[in-house]
Amino acid sequence: MAEVLLAAKAVAKHFGGVKALRDVSLSIREGEIYGLIGPNGAGKTTFFNCMTGLYIPDGGGFDFAGAPLKADAPHQAAERGIARTFQNIRLFANMTALENVMVGRHVRTAAGVLGAMFQNRATRAEEAAIRQRAEDLLHYVRIEDRADDLAKNLSYGDQRRLEIARALATEPKLLCLDEPAAGMNATETEELRDLIEGIRRDGTTILLIEHDVKLVMGLCDRVAVLDYGALVIEDVPAVVQKDQRVIEAYLGA
């Protein structure tokens, strides 16, 4: 059995009276596509935010690649190898597509102010490598012909792809996608599915929040279901699909 990459241990988070996460424990193994589903407001995005350091959990914590993740340090989560996209796309709207991906290289590169000032050979080589890598990634998500367009001028589907390219630029071990298929038509969803499978084949573990149950069940190796902030079940899709509590949670909602 593959190693555990991310382990959530009794993660709790509340907003005033709302218990968004109730002691959620789950584990994601290296190399799998792991689905996180649940009705609206179940706490999926909150789980992402806790994991990536944007929220501080009120209880519990995360182990990632064998060591605890520091709470309240988003840039360190990225450095450790967690990258994410956002449910409501958050691109750098007035930067070009290429620049968006180039910024994504920040955490894996080193040039500082002095390098920028003196333009020494190492800095220029690094800058060229950043650009090359960013171009390759745009190609990888198939939006290379939009490289010089401002991010905000891209179509919705392309923006989602760009966000994935930017996340991949950080060389993540774990790529977390928050409802990447939201608002996509059937063809786009199908293309997205190919992209996600390709990313996994190339060695990145994937955590996928998705509303589209069909997509999740077809794509994921294992699925966890959240309802009212609590974990209902964590298992292979075939088992999850037949679980009475899951059916109730979805039908009841």
Binding site: T52, G53, L54, P74, H75, A77, A78, E79, A83, R84, F86, R90, L91, F92, A93, N94, M95, E99, M102, V103, G104, R105, H106, V107, T109, A111, G112, V113, G115, A116, M117, Q119, T123, E126, E127, I130, L150, R166, A167, A169, T170
Partner: protein, 356 residues
């Protein structure tokens, strides 16, 4: 023609160089006062480009920028005047001034950079005033700054025997003190322009822009937003410190009243009015806002005499009135600044179209 005037072509560079060399001699025809005005314009270009790193690149609203200028100016004044009997050479003091200003930048920045927009503006505004008030009052119990009287007889810039005050012969050309400072200032301004340009298109510059665009997304891709903001703050402060040092040496005199809030606001206005984040725009803003008031100072009096045969309005008030009106008009009709970067211009025009 316009291709030839492109500042990137050899011809464009030669043209600009020729203009820059001729300028102090042309200005001197109107008297040395105009050379001094020119010098201040370039000093403001330097200051505005320093502030541009903070406001334009990193998007941090700093209303106390003049404090760093003051710190640099006083560092120079204290280390090169009879006040403490120290007379260190300027090339030693300028880096010290930059370092001290940088230290103050970090001191102010580290507790406050979590604050956003308006709150940061208020804290920096307070900081600027605190520094000025300290300078005013640090004459007792130990006389450090000499209080409101300020510090006089500050050493001029000198390379060995070559002094920047008084007239001297260079390559057979007679140069006045202000004219010599002019060339020093131009050299410094070119230096800061190159740094601005290089920073903008670098890993650091992109990270700053990302923070400005969406701080949460920037964090999520691993940008240490706090450190990068601090870096912008510290760099801006250092440039302020250098400018302050040159100011001290050029004037030979500093006092706290040179570092009032209005100065901070003027420098910010240069950045915003010119075109925030766009280097040519900021230069234009700084030149216009530093020269326009002087032109009005010399122009409105005679103009009234010529038009009405007598002084109707006190020239000083009229000058500020016209100046303020000009600012309002620019912001009304060119909200992105006189010479904005192409992206920012598009951004604002789209926002407006969306609002309708």
């Amino acid at each position: 023609m316009s291709k030839w005037l492109n500042p990137r072509s050899a011809f464009g560079i030669a043209l600009i160089a020729a203009a820059l060399i001729a300028l102090p001699f042309v200005a001197a025809m109107g008297g040395q006062a105009w050379v001094r005005i020119l010098n201040f314009a370039i000093l403001y270009v330097f200051l505005a480009l320093g502030l541009n790193i903070v406001v334009g690149f990193a998007g941090l609203l700093d209303l106390g920028y003049i404090a760093f200028y003051a710190v640099g100016a006083y560092t120079y004044a204290l280390l090169a005047s009879p006040h403490f009997g120290l007379h260190w050479p300027f090339w030693v003091i300028l880096p010290i001034g930059a370092a001290v200003a940088c230290f103050f930048g970090v001191l102010l920045g580290s507790p406050t950079l979590k604050l956003r927009g308006d709150y940061l503006a208020i804290v920096t505004l307070g900081f600027g005033e605190i520094v000025r008030i300290f300078l005013n009052n640090l004459n007792a119990p130990i006389n450090v700054t000499n209080g409101p009287q300020g510090i006089t007889l500050i050493d001029t810039v000198a390379f060995g025997d070559f002094r920047f005050s008084g007239t001297s012969q260079v390559l057979g050309v007679s140069l006045s003190g202000p004219q010599k400072y002019y060339f020093l200032l131009v050299a410094l301004a070119i230096f800061v322009i190159i740094i601005n340009l290089r920073l903008q298109n670098s890993r650091i510059g992109r990270a700053w822009q990302a923070i400005r665009e969406d701080e949460i997304a920037a964090k999520a891709i691993g940008i240490n937003t706090r450190n990068l903001k601090l870096l912008a703050f510290a760099m801006g402060a250092s440039f302020g410190g250098v400018a302050g040092g040159v100011f001290s040496a050029m004037q030979g005199f500093v006092s706290p009243e040179s570092f009032s809030l209005i100065e901070s606001i003027m420098i910010l206005a240069m950045v915003v009015l010119g075109g925030m984040g766009h280097i040519p725009g900021v230069i234009l803003g700084a030149v216009l806002l530093s020269i326009l008031p002087e032109v009005l100072r010399y122009g409105v009096g005679p103009l009234q005499m010529a038009l009405f045969g007598k002084m109707l309005i006190d020239p000083e008030s009229l000058r500020m009135l016209i100046f303020g009106l000009a600012l309002v008009l620019v912001m009304r009709f060119k909200p992105a600044g006189l010479w904005p970067s192409p992206e920012r211009k598009r951004e604002l025009s789209e926002k407006r179209a969306g609002a309708v």
